[in-house]
C-alpha cells in the first residue's frame, strides 16, 4: 500500500522557509501570491494490512514533531 504523509507546520507557527519562498516568487515577478507555507511529503510503501493506528503512531513518534507540525495521511493505492 502506498501512503503519502504530508507534514506541515501548524497554523500560527511562523514558517521562515515559506516566507523566503514567498519573497523569491515576488522577486521573480509573480504577483498575487497571498501566502506560502512549506512542508514535507514522505512517501511510504507499507504492507497492505498496516493499520491506521500504526500509521498514526509512525507520524506521531517520528515523521512529524507534534510540537510544531501537523500531519495528514493520504492513501494513494
Amino acid at each position: 500500500m502506498k501512503v503519502n504523509v504530508h507534514v506541515s507546520l501548524k497554523s500560527g507557527v511562523l514558517d521562515p522557509q515559506g516566507r523566503a519562498i514567498h519573497h523569491a516568487l515576488e522577486g521573480l515577478g509573480f504577483s498575487g501570491v497571498n501566502d506560502v507555507r512549506a512542508g514535507r511529503l514522505i512517501a511510504l510503501d507499507v504492507a497492505d494490512d498496516t493499520s491506521d493506528e500504526a500509521l498514526d503512531e509512525m507520524c506521531r513518534k517520528l515523521l512529524a514533531n507534534m510540537v510544531i507540525e501537523n500531519y495528514r495521511i493520504e492513501k494513494v493505492g
Binding site: V13, L14, P16, Q17, A20, K61, L62, L63, N65, V67, I68
Partner: protein, 225 residues
C-alpha cells in the same frame, strides 16, 4: 571524589571532542566517550553531555533520528533518575525531540546559518548548571546553527518563565527564538539545553572563558552533593 562524565557521539557529531576537552579542563578527569549504538550507558555516570553537530545528517528534522537511537533511550532513563544532562546546539535539538525538554528548534527566522559570538543574559542562577553565574549577568558565548529558532506555545513559554526554567536569553536575538530564549531547563532542573556553545569558551585562548563557569558549576555542584 570520583566524577564520571560521559559524552555521547553520534555519526555527524562534531563538537563531541570539544565537549570532552572542556569537561577534562575543568574537572581534571577525562570524560568517557559513548557511541550512539550503545544501548546501555556505562555504570556510575554523574553527568552526561549531548554535543553539537549534525547527528545522522540532520535527516528528517535536526535531532529527530538521534532522539530515537538506543543510547538516547538510556539517556532519557538516566535523566528521569536525576542524572544531570547537558545538550548543546544539536544536543539541545535532540533533547527537545526526545521530549526531555519542552518546545522545538525551528529553522532560523533569517533562514541563514548563524555563526558568531552572541551576548547572553543569565536568566537563572540557582540550577546545577548556572549556579556560578548571577541572574542578569551578561556573558558572551558563540552560536553556530541553522535551526536554533526556539518555539513553544504561549502557555509553555509562560510556564518556563514563571518557573525560572529560562536559563539563558539572547541579548541580541540571532535566530527569531520566542522570547529571546537561548537555553531552557526541565522542571526538575537536571536537564539543560542551549543553542550557544559554552564548551568553546573555556580559556582565554579561545577568545573568552565565559563558558567555563557552567562546567565548574556542574563539577563543583556534583562534588559537594
Amino acid at each position: 571524589m570520583a566524577f564520571t562524565a560521559g559524552v555521547i557521539t553520534f555519526p555527524g557529531s562534531n563538537c563531541d571532542r570539544d565537549m570532552a576537552v572542556a569537561i577534562e579542563a575543568v574537572s581534571g578527569k577525562p570524560a568517557t566517550r559513548i557511541w550512539h549504538g550503545d544501548a546501555a550507558l556505562p555504570d556510575g555516570l554523574d553527568f552526561i553531555a549531548v554535543p553539537g553537530g549534525f547527528s545522522y545528517g540532520d535527516y528528517l528534522r535536526s535531532g529527530a533520528m538521534a532522539a530515537n537511537s538506543p543510547v538516547m533511550r538510556a539517556v532519557a532513563e538516566a535523566a528521569e533518575r536525576g542524572v544531570p544532562v547537558l545538550g548543546v546546539c544539536n544536543g539541545f535539538q535532540i533533547l527537545t525531540e526526545t521530549g526531555l525538554l519542552p518546545g522545538a528548534l525551528m529553522r532560523n527566522a533569517g533562514i541563514h546559518f548563524v555563526c558568531r559570538e552572541v551576548p547572553l543574559i543569565v536568566g537563572n542562577d540557582t540550577s546545577l548548571f548556572t549556579a556560578k553565574y548571577s541572574k542578569g549577568q551578561e556573558i558572551v558565548i558563540p552560536v553556530a546553527h541553522h535551526d536554533g529558532n526556539y518555539y513553544a506555545d504561549d502557555e509553555t513559554l509562560d510556564r518556563l518563565e514563571g518557573e525560572g526554567q529560562v536559563a539563558f536569553r539572547y541579548a541580541e536575538n540571532p535566530n527569531g527564538s520566542a522570547r529571546d530564549i537561548a537555553g531552557v531547563l526541565n522542571a526538575k532542573g537536571n536537564v539543560l539545553g542551549m543553542m550557544p556553545h559554552p564548551e568553546r569558551m573555556i580559556e582565554a585562548a579561545q577568545g573568552g572563558d565565559d563558558g567555563r563557569a557552567l562546567f565548574e558549576a556542574v563539577f563543583e555542584g556534583l562534588s559537594v552533593a
